[in-house]
């Protein structure tokens, strides 16, 4: 089980388009440069982890969690955090989404 986030998020697929992100791995985790915006993002663990998964392959919420962590029970708080991170990444234009 991966839990069920809000329907709006559960029914979307998250993906990246455009030039590849440039991950700066020499100094710390979670530093990523977006060539499209020219912005450098200093991401905390969760959005960095989510972005790295989506950067590899588009995923729905369920696929994202299962691909990374396998079947896992997440409580409502954890689900909300993941949803919030996804929405942040979308707001930062690091990922996009479309209905499944």
């Amino acid at each position: 089980m991966t839990g069920s986030p809000a329907d709006g998020v559960a029914q979307r697929r998250w993906f990246r388009s455009g030039p590849d992100l440039v991950w700066e791995r020499g100094l710390a985790e979670g530093i990523v440069f977006d060539p499209v915006s020219g912005e450098t993002h200093f991401l905390s663990d969760l959005p960095a982890l989510i972005l790295s998964v989506i950067d590899e392959m588009p995923a729905s919420y369920t696929e994202l969690v299962e691909r990374f962590a396998g079947p896992v029970d997440l409580d409502g708080g954890a689900q909300s955090q993941i949803v919030a991170a996804l929405l942040f990444l979308e707001g930062a234009e690091l990922v996009e989404s479309q209905p499944i």
Binding site: P19, D20, L21, V22, W23, E24, G26, L27, I31, F33, P35, V36, S37, G38, E39, T40, H41, F42, L43, S44, D45, L46, P47, A48, L49, V65, F68, A69, G70, V72, A78, Q81, I82, A84, A85, F88, A92
Partner: protein, 246 residues
């Protein structure tokens, strides 16, 4: 299969750890400065690439060996960078002396062919690090506690820019080897300040890979960077960066 399961198990732990941390996220826009140091900080500053461009290679875009060499330094506490003024015909721009302060590297440049640098204090050895368009000499003085980097950038046979950087080193110093990339993340060339190629997107240079050049002392792993104020050949204040051990 066991390896896959172990990987999933590790990832699951990472996920729960990530869920337990505060969602701190910051974004650095091109041209902005961040209070804490980062290699990306200086290179995201619009003032930096001019100096960067002056200092580095002139090789072709896409060349996998197209690297830029930058001076780096780390020091202990109040160690002070040595300012090495030029005695050539090219005077220091007005106000340069006021920038002589601890931790500042002054870059000396000249557009006059034939103008050269003044070597400092008991230089005993020369090492040519780069050839062709960029000649970089690393010199150590007799006591071994000072490293001098002199870099000549020659563009089109009509411009010579000389950079002279000198600093004290207590724990070591070296160069980093970096590969500039353009806004699309592709390796790119960096032209001279006097003739920049129009294709260079100079506000978005990155250091995706920085590691120590061979043959220099010190372990430069785990680097943090600090922006420093410097001066270009026209007397404009530009930003430079110095890496320090994190």
């Amino acid at each position: 299969m066991a390896a896959h399961d172990e990987k999933i198990s590790q990832n699951r732990r990472r996920l729960f750890k990530a869920l337990s941390t505060a969602p701190v996220v910051a974004t650095l826009s091109p041209g902005s400065a961040l209070a804490t140091g980062s290699v990306l900080q200086c290179l995201s500053d619009t003032a930096e690439p001019e100096n960067f461009r002056t200092a580095v290679d002139l090789c072709a875009a896409g060349d996998p060996d197209c690297y830029a060499y930058r001076s780096v330094q780390y020091w202990d506490g109040g160690d002070v960078t040595v300012i090495t003024p030029s005695t050539t015909s090219a005077p220091w721009p007005p106000g340069v002396s006021s920038l002589a302060q601890p931790g500042v590297i002054i870059v000396q440049s000249s557009t006059s062919p034939g103008t050269f640098y003044t070597r400092v204090d008991n230089i005993s050895s020369d090492v040519i690090v780069l050839g062709t368009d960029v000649r970089l000499e690393v010199l150590a003085d007799a006591s071994g506690d000072r490293l001098v980097i002199i870099q000549d950038v020659v563009s089109g046979g009509n411009t010579t820019s000389t950079e002279l950087v000198s600093f004290q080193t207590k724990t070591g110093a070296g160069l980093i080897l970096v590969q500039p990339v353009d806004k699309n993340g592709s390796p790119t060339s960096v032209g001279s300040a006097s003739n920049p190629p129009t294709s260079v997107v100079d506000t978005q240079l990155l250091l995706p890979d920085a590691h120590q050049a061979p043959g220099l002392p010190g372990d430069l792993k785990g680097l943090a960077a600090t922006c420093l104020t410097s001066v270009n050949q026209n007397g404009s204040v530009v930003q430079n960066f110095v890496l320090s051990k994190g």
